[in-house]
């Protein structure tokens, strides 16, 4: 029986949950954490971005079987780091979201970038965020808000 930690809470998953079930659907359908979104199912849009052992990962293409026992998963519901707070504040200040469907993934990716790199360059932002599609094309504001959050983090 696989055991994972989701937002620091222990979750034991019954062995009758198929091993090919993507983490995304464990979160959404079994744990009712719907902040993480389904967009493509093949890890090309980033709407499902969560942190797996602290690193941004695509939950839609991470099968249950591939997650090592005891792994720490962090979703938008449980992401409470100072980088997340700064990103969310900047997102609100600049009114980044339009339809908003991709934004949980954007926030998780942006906060992970800032945790790694306090003062990201445009090149760093491109590298970290190019995997996260936004069909509303809120990109100018995503870029500006990451810089805003970086500034706020001091």
């Amino acid at each position: 029986m696989p055991t994972i930690f989701v937002n620091k809470e222990r979750v034991d998953i019954s062995s009758n949950v198929p091993g090919d079930t993507p983490l995304l659907w464990i979160l959404r359908d079994y744990l009712s954490m719907t902040g993480t979104k389904y967009g493509c199912g093949i890890a090309v849009c980033g709407a499902c971005t969560v942190w797996i052992e602290g690193q941004p990962g695509r939950s839609c293409a991470t099968t249950l079987a591939s997650i090592k026992t005891g792994a720490e998963i962090t979703t938008i519901e449980g992401a409470k780091t100072k980088e997340v707070a700064a990103v969310q504040a900047a997102w609100e200040k600049l009114d980044v979201p339009q339809c908003g469907y991709c934004q949980s993934g954007q926030v998780m990716a942006a906060a992970a970038l800032l945790a790694k790199k306090k003062r990201p360059t445009d090149g760093d932002i491109d590298e970290a965020m190019t995997g996260n599609l936004c069909r509303c094309a809120a990109y100018p504001r995503i870029r500006a808000a990451i810089k805003e959050a970086s500034k706020a983090l001091g």
Partner: protein, 735 residues
């Protein structure tokens, strides 16, 4: 059917985990608060004691709830509509909430659509402007009258600011909440005085979006997130070709898949119903379906465009004819001709299509959907179920983008879900909510595309470089034909949505002839952000650029001379040109790179947009858009920052199509399936965008769509400026 059993997650998890998480684990039916509210069809305003009209509710707790008759699908509609009410009401922005209206065209019809409720054509603000100003002003007048009576002072001596009603002379104050209950018994004023625009407190200034917080912390609820007690998730096997049907299917491989509950045949395919999405999808993928392809369409994009090209050799239905364009061109000193190709385009909203439908015991049909066309969908579902439209209750949730896709007269995904719910009802399984979830692949291959088009343009110049005649022929499927919109939109064989932007060419030409062929094809088509302008802005604005070059005139100067009767086109063009530094040399690129600047100007949905694109073309013929300078005249900019956001987003959406958007068919099969083969703009390709708003006192017009069609022609013109090459086929490829 079995009772919902959640056995996939161990009870030990429940015992060990704490709090809300465990409730989710053990029940598997944790219902987000918003969805629960939706289920009760009475969202969040139970405490309202003063409802002076359909759009304003004020509670004793001092909250002001603005009822939005329009969908929030990203365009800032909820914020903009609330801004209009709050301004006339003089509410404090912090006390304002927004909730989606129920489906009821008698109260919530789109005033620009007649008797129908719905969101589209960039009309939300435009049609609501006066209605919501009056709604806010009426509520304010009733609150003032209540205070005047209570304090026994003349109403004229009372002021309202930031949600506080004040009588300064006696230093008395009251909040809206304190006055609300008594205000409810005031007569609704018959004459309503609206503010002098100079007194606006929110309109034209910065108001933060009402949904930014929930959309930044994952709590915003979309249809995809709705979870109701006993709900089943449906994933459907669809035919690979348009027009094919189920011949037979073998579900034996589906037996035993954990979580699958049943398999049902419906007109559009075979649905697998399960406790969760992954089980349903696994079951769907395991189905073996034999398709009856007797009526299946097996054409290819190349054949379609070839047929369109052939059709364009013959005259079509006349959309506009003034003067004798053919004769004028025959006598011209110089004649230019060009042909343009536009592929099908998918909307590809981030949230793939989905909905939830539940049939109650009393035949009420309850729907949860990112609902863009309430009245049409109500009628479609009512007809399908054989009930009256009032029996169809629609909960309007946020849509994760739509761009027109959720406003489908054919109600395709709703009827698919309805078909499943009906099968269950006939098996005595009423009250089971059915959540239809399309995978990205289902969504991309389901049709309802921006129609493919082929255009020819022909114009004559006299010896001085003046246009003497203009002929424009368009070939492409009609969107409105065969829908309830046909009677209003199709006249004498011309679908207005096919020729908008072409038949109303703003340039002064002495003779013009625009005609249209509307071939019928089994590929379903639909409006796609800015509709006809998605292709007409491209052909007209790149062709006018060709004529300018042929006349050896600067593109801005050439247009300026022809826009004398269109001051708003002219003003946005001049503003964009000025802000872009038009006429000054661009900074050179690196060695081997060529840079260019191009302009386009276009009106759509009564808003005027001009854009200047700066492009860098590399030695390998790839190119990148460096900057877009955009000028917009949308009348009064209710929320200027949101106007900027919509121009940014509209440009990004248009650039996706310009750079890579194409749905193609091969032997009837849609060749694309997901974002790897239908790429969309990403942040590393997103240009800097500078938006400038023309100050205006005119009534506001829309901004959701008008930014989209202008960028592709401005880019093509920039590529010409850089390379001397004219691109006339979308998406734009130099190599």
């Amino acid at each position: 059917m079995n009772k919902p059993r959640i056995e996939n997650v161990s009870r030990r998890g429940f015992l060990r985990a704490g709090g809300a998480l465990s409730a989710g684990l053990v029940l598997g039916v944790h219902v987000p608060a918003y969805a629960q509210a939706g289920a009760a069809a009475k969202p969040a305003t139970a405490g309202a004691v003063f409802e002076p009209n359909a759009f304003v509710k004020i509670g004793a707790d001092n909250t002001v709830t603005v009822v939005s008759k329009h969908l929030e699908m990203g365009q800032g509609t909820y914020t903009g509509l609330a801004t209009i009410v709050a301004d006339e009401l003089d509410a404090a922005w912090g006390q304002v909430r927004v909730e989606g209206a129920p489906a009821d065209a008698s109260r919530f019809n789109n005033l620009l659509w007649g008797p129908a409720q719905g969101t589209g054509g960039s009309t939300a603000i435009a049609n609501s402007w006066e209605q919501l100003r009056k709604a806010g002003a009426a509520a304010r007048a009733m609150l003032v009258a209540t205070a005047a009576q209570r304090w026994n002072v003349p109403a004229a001596s009372i002021t309202v600011k930031d949600g506080v009603v004040t009588h300064a002379a006696s230093n008395r104050k009251a909040t809206f909440g304190e006055l609300a209950a008594a205000a409810a018994s005031q007569p609704v004023p018959s004459e309503i005085r609206l503010k002098d625009p100079k007194d606006f407190v929110y309109i034209g200034r910065h108001v933060p979006r009402v949904d930014s917080k929930a959309k930044s912390n994952g709590t915003a609820i979309f249809t995809q997130d709705v979870k109701l007690p006993g709900m089943v998730t449906a994933v459907v096997a669809h035919p690979p070709r348009f027009g094919a049907k189920v011949a037979s299917f073998d579900a034996s491989a589906v037996q035993g898949i954990v979580g699958v509950r049943q398999v049902v045949e419906i007109p559009s395919g075979v649905a697998v119903l399960a406790n969760n999405f992954w089980s349903a999808k696994t079951g769907r993928d395991a189905l073996k379906v034999q398709w009856d392809e007797g009526a299946a369409y097996k054409g290819s994009s190349a054949d379609i465009i070839a047929a369109f090209r052939k059709a364009a050799e013959q005259p079509g239905a006349v959309a506009k004819s003034e003067g004798d364009a053919a004769k004028a061109i025959a006598g011209a000193a110089r004649v230019l001709e060009a042909a343009y190709e536009f592929p099908y385009l998918a909307h590809a909203a981030m949230e793939p299509m989905n909905c939830v439908i539940r049939i109650a015991d009393d035949d009420t049909i309850e729907v949860w959907n990112g609902e863009q066309m309430q009245t049409g969908d109500q009628f479609a579902l009512a007809k399908f179920f054989g009930v009256t439209p009032e029996k169809v209750k629609i909960n309007m949730l946020f849509a994760g983008g739509s761009f027109g896709r959720r406003a489908n007269p054919a109600a395709d995904y709703l009827l698919e879900c309805a078909s499943i719910a009906l099968v269950l009802a006939r098996k005595d399984q009423r009250n089971v909510p059915v959540k239809l979830v399309w995978t990205r692949e289902d969504d991309m291959r389901a049709g309802y595309y921006r129609p493919a088009f082929f255009h020819t343009l022909k114009a004559g110049l006299d010896a001085n470089g003046n246009i003497v005649g203009w002929q424009h022929r368009l070939v492409g499927q009609s969107i409105a034909t065969g829908t309830p919109f046909e009677s209003g939109m199709v006249k004498d064989g011309v679908d207005a949505t096919s020729v908008e932007g072409a038949s109303n060419l703003p340039y002064a030409v002495p003779a013009i002839h625009v005609d249209l062929h509307s071939p019928k094809l089994p590929v379903p088509v639909l409006w796609w952000r800015s509709v006809g302008s998605t292709h007409t802005a491209f052909s007209t604005e790149t062709f006018i650029d060709e004529l300018a070059a042929a006349a050896k005139k600067d593109p801005v100067e050439f247009r300026r001379a022809l826009l004398g009767k269109h001051p708003r086109h002219l003003a946005v063009m001049e503003l964009a040109a000025k802000e872009a530094g038009w006429g000054k040399p661009l900074a050179p690129g690196k060695a081997g790179e060529k840079r260019g600047r191009g302009i386009a100007v276009h009106e759509s949905f009564s808003s005027y947009v001009a854009q200047v694109v700066e492009v860098t073309v590399k030695a390998d013929s790839t190119f990148r858009v460096d900057r877009v300078v955009c000028a917009v005249d949308c009348g009064i900019a209710v929320n200027p920052d949101n106007v900027r956001a919509q121009m940014e987003g509209g440009i990004g959406y248009g650039l996706s199509a310009a750079l890579s958007g194409a749905i193609t068919l091969k032997d009837g099969i849609v060749e694309q399936s997901n974002f790897h083969d239908y790429p969309a703009l990403r942040i590393n390709e997103a240009p800097r965008i500078d938006v400038h708003i023309v100050p205006s006192a005119a009534a506001p017009t829309g901004v959701g769509e008008p930014g989209t069609p202008v960028v592709a022609p401005a880019l093509a013109n920039a590529i010409f400026a850089a390379t001397g090459k004219r691109l006339r086929s979308l998406p734009l490829k130099l190599a």
